[in-house]
């Protein structure tokens, strides 16, 4: 008989893992709390470093999961550990007996309004990275040409006061990508990136940075924005320190994009509470081993994939999803061949 695997979360990690588990011959049940599959990927317009369409990428992932039992708008209501399996009661009333569970609950974007000094939700021109992606996707960029646009890196990341000392890994590349995109739309605007360190670690990321500097003339200012205020004509006055010249700096902008970082998702946390899963100081789930078995939790048969164990890029997430499928396959084979 086919073994049941419950995958919680229909983002890239959940989709890629489900596709692979299905291919390995398991009966996969994928549940997603939103109306549609895809997680944050579905809300994005283009992806760094090459600017490929998020929609196409998502469609490629979705093509692979045809035949998997998907329940959207569904959450786990109760999750119990049985002797050799897990018993899950879903919000749609279905009860599932799963031989293994994969948690792919991903991340929530940091709530930018928590950084009160940036005035998100208070000043018109202050938006988040997600808002900008939506504007690109829906083609709803402000028609009035802005003269100056700023990007604030590390909003809610590397910030103990915001509750997240860790780096969110994707914001630097996203900010540089978005800065280039915005400059393409408004070539006459001055575009500034306020960064602390530029973490352009991936393949082609540095090229993106160089392109942003040389081709788009984007100005990188090393220093975190300290505060934002509105000017008499409704523009944004931004203060920061240019730490490279050790001088305070101010500039008036028309749009300020906050690169909201990654926080553990609320829905993931609620699953974690039911099983008393441990988290690390950053709030993300702790793996059995951070080097050797990131996909394993401390509970046998309960696995992780993607950003529920910390900020990850899309390729990282997909790799983890594939390796989680292999780990689960190995677990099931070992567990059920003992008899």
């Amino acid at each position: 008989m086919k073994k049941n695997i419950l995958v919680i979360g229909g983002g890239p990690a959940g989709l890629e893992a489900s596709a692979n588990l299905k291919r390995l011959g398991y009966n996969v049940i994928l549940i997603e709390k939103d109306k549609q599959l895809g997680g944050h990927l579905a809300k994005w317009d283009r992806l760094f470093p090459d600017g490929v369409s998020a929609k196409q990428t998502l469609n490629a992932l979705l093509d692979e999961v045809s035949g998997v039992n998907c329940f959207t708008e569904t959450e786990v209501q109760q999750l119990n550990v049985l002797e050799k399996s897990y018993n899950a009661i879903l919000s749609n009333g279905i009860t599932i007996l799963a031989d293994a569970v994969l948690l792919a609950s991903g991340f929530d974007l940091f709530k930018a309004e928590k950084k009160e000094e940036y005035g998100y939700g208070i000043y018109e021109g202050v938006i988040t990275n997600a808002d900008l992606e939506e504007a690109f996707r829906e083609k709803k960029l402000p028609a009035k040409h802005p003269q100056a646009i700023g990007f604030v890196h590390c909003v809610g990341s590397r910030d103990e006061k915001a509750g997240n000392p860790a780096c969110s890994k994707v914001c630097c590349a996203t900010a540089v990508k978005q800065a280039c995109e915005v400059k393409e739309v408004y070539p006459d605007a001055d575009v500034y990136c306020f960064y602390m360190d530029l973490r352009m670690f991936g393949r082609h990321y540095e090229d993106l940075y160089l392109k942003a500097q040389k081709e788009f003339g984007i100005r990188f200012i090393r220093g975190r924005v300290s505060e934002v205020a509105e000017t008499t004509d409704g523009r944004l006055q931004v203060k920061a320190e240019d730490t490279l010249s050790s001088k305070p700096l101010k500039v008036t902008l028309d749009m300020l994009v906050l690169m909201a970082g990654m926080r553990p998702s609320e829905s993931g946390k609620s699953v974690g509470r039911q099983l008393n899963l441990t988290t690390e100081e950053d709030g993300f789930f702790s793996s059995a081993d951070n080097l050797l078995s990131i996909q394993r939790s401390k509970l046998p048969g309960f696995f992780y994939a993607g950003a529920c164990t910390g900020a990850k890029t899309l390729p990282d997430t997909l790799h983890e999803a594939r390796s989680a499928a292999i780990e689960i396959d190995r677990y099931i084979k070992e567990k059920f061949s003992e008899k």
């Binding site: 500097q213 240019d242 490279l244 010249s245 500039v251």
Partner: protein
């Protein structure tokens, strides 16, 4: 006017709204590589003149971006054009000619 023994001191704050972007665009048109600086500091670290006087291409570029022209020229006036900075620049910026162009565009 009364002398109180103290007075309002001038602000050291950089105001990007007021800095001369035209000259910098002219410089960037002539020396597009000026935009490539990633502030690593290799130029100043290897600089022959910096051993004796504050000299730094990196800081000069930054000062120009921040509209502090005097400071930028001050940081380059002791340069002897020896070319070490050009040799060590990881981004391949022709710093030597950049220095001359800065002095020509902003000088006097």
């Amino acid at each position: 006017m009364i002398d109180f023994g103290f007075t309002v001191s001038p602000s050291s704050r950089i105001n990007l709204d007021k800095c001369d972007k035209k000259s910098f665009s002219a410089l960037a048109a002539l020396e597009p590589d000026v935009l490539k600086c990633m502030a690593c500091g290799s130029c100043s670290a290897s600089c022959t003149a910096a051993h004796f006087e504050p000299t730094s291409v990196r800081r000069a570029i930054l000062s120009l971006q921040n509209g502090q022209v005097e400071q930028a020229l001050d940081l380059l006036k002791s340069c002897m054009l020896c070319g070490k900075c050009t040799m060590v620049c990881p981004r391949g910026i022709n710093t030597r000619h950049l220095i001359i162009s800065i002095q020509k565009i902003y000088g006097k």
